[in-house]
Amino acid sequence: MNAHGTVFKFGDNIDTDVIIPARYLNSSDPKELAGHCMEDIDKTFVKRVKTGDIIVGRKNFGCGSSREHAPIAIKAAGVNCVIAETFARIFFRNSINIGLPILECPQAAEEIADGDDVEVDFDAGIITDHTTGKTYKAQPFPPFMQKIISSGGLINYINSSGE
């Protein structure tokens, strides 16, 4: 599995309130949520993002509320991967559970710039910045999570394990 697209770069502590403001949580429709993704931090994000693009954040990405609407909005907006130095734990869990690939890689998160052309090879955990020519090795998922991801999320994982 690969992701290849343009990077949208954000800073530290990108919280779920800016990823998808609570005023839109009276809906749980992914398309509607995607239409307001990142609205409170970058009003132009939704207009500019294309399918396959990549978000890069710094520390504690996705902190705040437990709303699964946040990774859902990001995924439905077309983003194929989020890279950060660290993720807030509920956001991390939710992304795995809904099948939004996320990678923790401090060096890549620091060095990759807004607008860079970046490719991610999930199987190898390799991030390539084609703009700068640099490559990074991300931390691979533990085997237990790999199973959840390869089943296509937690629900399928449970269905397939026949519980």
């Binding site: 502590n13 949580l25 504690n60 437990s66 699964e68 609407h69 809904i98």
Partner: protein, 420 residues
């Protein structure tokens, strides 16, 4: 190797003799919680599952609290979805208008969270029940769906930070000041993925309400959970509220902590978190400039309990809310609302020029009931002050204790009760 209190609860629920930090486990759940925002997403996920029933109708709590009473048609549809689900599976602990309260104030009050329990909730402040010695943590809607269907969830066993609490707090220093002080010290990711385990003889000087407030905001330091020892006060609370059998876990003497932090309650001051992070704290005496406020909110799962309302009423009694300030008081549950009425607190609020609402999350998450316009400022007893949290992206939220919020409502700027 010794285990922390959190690790012991996780090991017991995973059927293991011991666990170590970093280990991935699957564990049995004592309670699965959802609200009117997160439950509909979970219910739709459950529809996709091959399991077609809930694991235990008594071990699911569905609380309609965020946009309740329904603020618009869409939120009404969400509640309807959850209501129908609760009926279909005969979910015992479904709380709608008339019985509901803000979930994290309601569950302990109803005796649905007890010492030694393993609880997940599709709401980040599920960590509140750590005040009772439970391991409780926030998850997303998919975890909630899986939890409702199977009664199990996966966890990565957390390492821990020990917070050693000593001393006795001063008159206006509350649980809110303790946790804001701690977050200010370690940052919003200072406890990322970790447990915050509170110990020390100073805990005896914290009321249960103080402890709920502290455990509630563990997530604001990035923590997976916050947990308190089950001392006499906690046992008394449990005796009063629950008929559930509970189990008291204590950390091993040789438990390993990644970090130790000491908080001497006697040295703490009232603390305010400035926009736009809970870690952006200043003590009240460090605030030299006038910070004018347009609104004061006293409520939420953090500070909408009876002792919060009592201190706010003590300060507002015989005084008036400043002319340019809207003061909104929201008791967290129906029981708290009733008690505040019986104690005459509601009368004090109304005579002071505040409004009192039925229990709801409302303004805390910028839902309704007190949304801020551009450039407005609010002093609030809630737990988050992120950009746009309570309204327009240029509005500002300052987090503080009920005492500070009430005093500020009177003066129209961030103030200590001592200045009145």
């Amino acid at each position: 190797m010794g285990m922390t209190m959190s690790q012991k609860i996780l090991a017991a629920h995973a059927g293991l003799d011991s666990v170590v930090a970093g280990q991935l486990i699957e564990a049995d759940l004592d309670m699965v919680l959802g609200n009117d925002i997160t439950s509909p997403v979970a219910i739709h996920e459950m529809d996709k599952m091959s399991v077609k029933t809930v694991f235990d109708k008594d071990k699911i709590a569905l609380v309609m609290d965020h946009f309740i009473p329904n603020k618009d048609i869409k939120s009404a549809e969400h509640c309807k979805c959850v209501r129908e689900f609760a009926k279909k599976y005969d979910v015992t602990n479904y709380f709608d208008v008339g019985q509901m309260g803000i979930e994290h104030a309601l569950l302990p009050e109803k005796g649905l969270a007890a010492a030694g329990d393993l609880i997940i909730g599709a709401d980040s402040h599920t960590c509140t029940y750590g005040a009772l010695g439970a391991f409780s943590t926030g998850v997303g809607s998919t975890d909630m769906a899986a939890g409702m269907a199977t009664g199990r969830a996966w966890f990565k066993v957390p390492s821990a930070i020990r917070v050693n609490v000593t001393g006795k707090p001063g008159k206006y220093v509350s649980g809110k000041d303790v946790i804001l002080h701690l977050i200010g010290k370690i940052g919003v990711d200072g406890a990322l993925y970790k447990s915050l385990e509170f110990t020390g003889d100073g805990i005896a000087n914290l009321t249960m309400d103080d402890r709920f407030t502290i455990a509630n905001m563990a997530i604001e330091a990035g923590a997976k959970n916050g947990i308190f020892p089950v001392d006499e006060a906690a046992q008394e609370y449990l005796k009063e509220h629950t008929s559930k059998e509970y189990k008291v876990y204590t950390a091993d003497a040789d438990a390993v902590y990644e970090q130790e932090i000491h908080i001497d309650l006697s040295t703490l001051e009232s603390t305010v978190a400035f926009p736009h992070l809970p870690s952006n704290t200043k003590t009240i005496s460090e605030i030299k400039e006038d910070v004018k406020v347009d609104q004061a909110v006293i409520g939420s799962c953090t500070n909408g309990r009876i002792s919060d309302l009592r201190i706010a009423a003590e300060i507002l009694k015989g005084r008036k809310v400043a002319k340019d300030v809207r003061c909104i008081v929201i008791p967290a549950t129906q029981a708290i609302y009733l008690q505040a009425m019986e104690e005459g607190l509601l009368k004090i609020f109304i005579e002071a020029g505040a409004v009192v609402s039925t229990p709801t999350c409302g303004p805390c998450l910028g839902g309704y009931m007190g949304i801020l316009a551009a450039n407005e400022r609010c002093i609030s007893t809630t737990n988050r002050n992120f950009v746009g949290r309570m309204g327009d992206v240029t509005s500002e939220v300052y987090l503080a204790s009920p005492a500070i919020a009430a005093a500020s409502a009177v003066t129209g700027k961030i103030s200590s009760p001592e200045e009145l």
